[in-house]
Symmetry: C2
Subunit: 399 residues, 2 copies
């Protein structure tokens, strides 16, 4: 699985396209260049509290019994023996180098009595302490979270250059598939992969383009793959790949160009018939038709692929959590098994209950679980009480 | 902090409004009613593998040396001594109750030789095994992830009823604030809270409405608060609340209606001047102007509030991770301290490096960190090597 992924990613070309957007539309976009601050934040020395600005050196000998008295002034600069009242965020008057908090002084008419020494720059936000002029505020290849937007606004950027969202074409194949909303003939099933894979792409900030259902015929599949390659940065297919039945999708892919299929069959469960292909530098991810296998195959191969095509510095993984297995699980030796678990917090401890034992391919294992554990190839199972690392694809439960 | 939150949430009314939307637009929406499956999934017994369907009872005495031979047929039902070839997902022919995998039989012209016994329902996906007709497929109050959309499509739902997104008005107050994109006068700063809080709301599936900047005057603040209350389900403000300076926002809130401010001042750092209010059942979250305090105050109070207003069954927490502190941190006793940390994976272990020590209010602590630890009120710090539970607001780093 890891070898297949590495080989796949190394063959995929990333041809960055960028555009400029307003900062306010920047949530979850990926910066295409470092942003260097053109100003200091704060732009000047400021008070960090509500209090009195003064010169620290003048307070050195102040004590409870021998307070030091300062003249209260309103000017923008202070001289010896003077102090000025400031609120949090106010610029420090020139000449001052410390602020004493309201509660640590005593005011009497136009005098302020100080009962102890201030240290230099006490309660002062120094100019450039948050971000210095010339400092990189946010690096290229970062997905912008709310806190990044806040920081970029604070240093005055109202436009940013970001990578274009990768476009991902999605094709479901299979004569048994019916489009959602249609009447279902006996022995048909609704296509659910188009919807779940589109949503997985959208979650990762890609632009999904669901091309619908292809019949189990080379020509129909080839046409949809060509459309996908022409209009998108990647193509994801489901169905039409297996061990026994005719490999329609791999055959169609190989007919499209070089190198074609580079991996067919991965030592994982579910997802064994997964194939990985590249045609003229563009990736095709050929997933099995089984919905659970398709979603998990996307987790393993689609997620790192989209991270690369998004311009991210590295693969964006699911949140990880370490949890204790509540029950033993037996798995197939020689493959990495993607064991679905429901992680919950019980008496302060993270526990993981396996849910995929009753059928690796059931869709409901994906909704009953909130994460998966990828076992190593050389193990036959997970013991009860063992600590596992879970990739979380939904929220933690509380029991 | 916990008491304030509990009191706040108990006073907030949730008046659910729902609407019907196409399933394909349902990602991250919250279901307003249980969805009960109107069909079995699978709709009939199906083969789970590529192989041969037959009657298990007829294979009981088959061995390597004494194979049992079956007649290969193409009909939709089989009789004694008959078998039919099936691919994964094919309906089981009537009369059959097991499937032997391709690799475990030998085909000779129109005969299939079986070398060992099959157990009943071996390699068969039973009708309704994934979801039974009448079973609840997805519960009300759940946020729909890609896997839920897949499951709902598989059982044939193309429309769903969801809660309307909560609308959240955002007001920044302060004479020192300038709108992004304008020229900055000396001593002014750009409003960054409008942008970061809007993004935090959007991340939670709410609809933010940034009402812009109010001057430090009761009238201007009151007008914006009234607009917010009239057009939205909640109002979030920043600035204009402190200990020493005039409490403009709390005063304006109290003039709007009952009960008004219910909490003012929270034993937390940053975020001490936070106020929580309710007017005619609608919540107002009054946050400090400091950007780090505003974002963290939103994490603590805004996040559970929006979960409630979204119709979620319970608060959607940030992903949690347990990590080892790389350095001692000293905090203020008597408050919950929101210590920002950068969590990274080093030699397979989760480590947390504190980043907020150099200044609790710096915006850059929010971008340098990827999570926060909320200390208990009665501790004076976190020791080096201590295991802490981190609320992750950005991705894990790898070192």
């Amino acid at each position: 699985m890891d070898k297949a992924l590495k080989e796949f990613l190394s063959r995929v070309e990333f041809n960055p396209k960028t555009h400029v957007i307003p900062l306010k539309t920047g949530l979850n976009r990926v910066l295409s260049q470092d942003i260097v601050s053109t100003r200091n934040l704060p732009g000047m020395d400021k008070s960090a509290v509500d209090g009195y600005a003064l010169r620290a050196s003048e307070t050195l000998e102040a004590t409870k019994s021998k307070p030091r008295s300062f003249q209260l002034v309103k000017s923008d600069s202070i001289k010896n023996n003077e102090t000025k009242q400031v609120w949090t965020g106010n610029p420090l008057p020139s000449g001052a180098d410390a602020v004493l908090m309201l509660e640590n002084v005593k005011m009497t008419r136009d005098k302020v009595e100080v009962y102890g020494p201030a240290t230099r720059w006490e309660n002062v936000s120094r100019m450039g302490e948050d971000i210095r002029q010339g400092q990189v505020a946010v690096r290229a290849g970062r997905r912008l979270r709310p806190q990044h937007l806040g920081l970029l606004a604070a240093i005055g950027f109202d436009e940013i250059r970001v990578f274009e969202k990768p476009k991902v074409a999605i094709v479901a194949t299979g004569n048994e598939l019916a489009e959602l909303g249609r009447d279902l003939h006996e022995s048909q099933i609704f296509d659910s992969n188009g919807l779940s894979l589109s949503a997985l792409c959208a979650e990762l900030g890609a632009e999904p383009n669901d091309l619908g259902i292809a019949r189990d015929e080379l020509e129909d599949i080839s046409e949809k793959l060509r459309t996908g390659l022409n209009t998108s940065d990647a193509v994801v297919t489901t169905g039409g790949t297996s061990v026994g039945a005719p490999d329609l999708v791999p055959d169609a892919v190989n007919a499209l160009g070089e190198p074609g299929i580079i991996v067919h069959g991965v030592a994982m469960r579910p997802g064994m018939p997964t194939a990985l292909a590249v045609v003229s530098g563009k990736p095709l991810l050929v997933l099995p038709g089984n919905p659970a296998a398709a979603m998990l195959g996307f987790e393993v191969f689609g997620r790192p692929l989209i991270s690369k095509l998004s311009g991210l510095q590295r693969t964006e993984s699911r949140p990880l959590i370490e949890a204790r297995m509540t029950k033993k699980v037996t798995v197939t030796l020689g493959r990495r098994n993607l064991v679905r678990v429901q992680v919950f917090l019980k008496k302060g401890e993270f526990c993981a209950r396996p849910v995929s034992a009753r059928g690796s391919g059931l869709i409901s294992t994906m909704t009953e679980a909130n994460g998966y554990v990828a076992t190593m190839k050389n193990v036959e199972g997970i013991e009860e009480g063992e600590i596992v690392r879970v990739h979380m694809f939904d929220d933690l439960e509380e029991h």
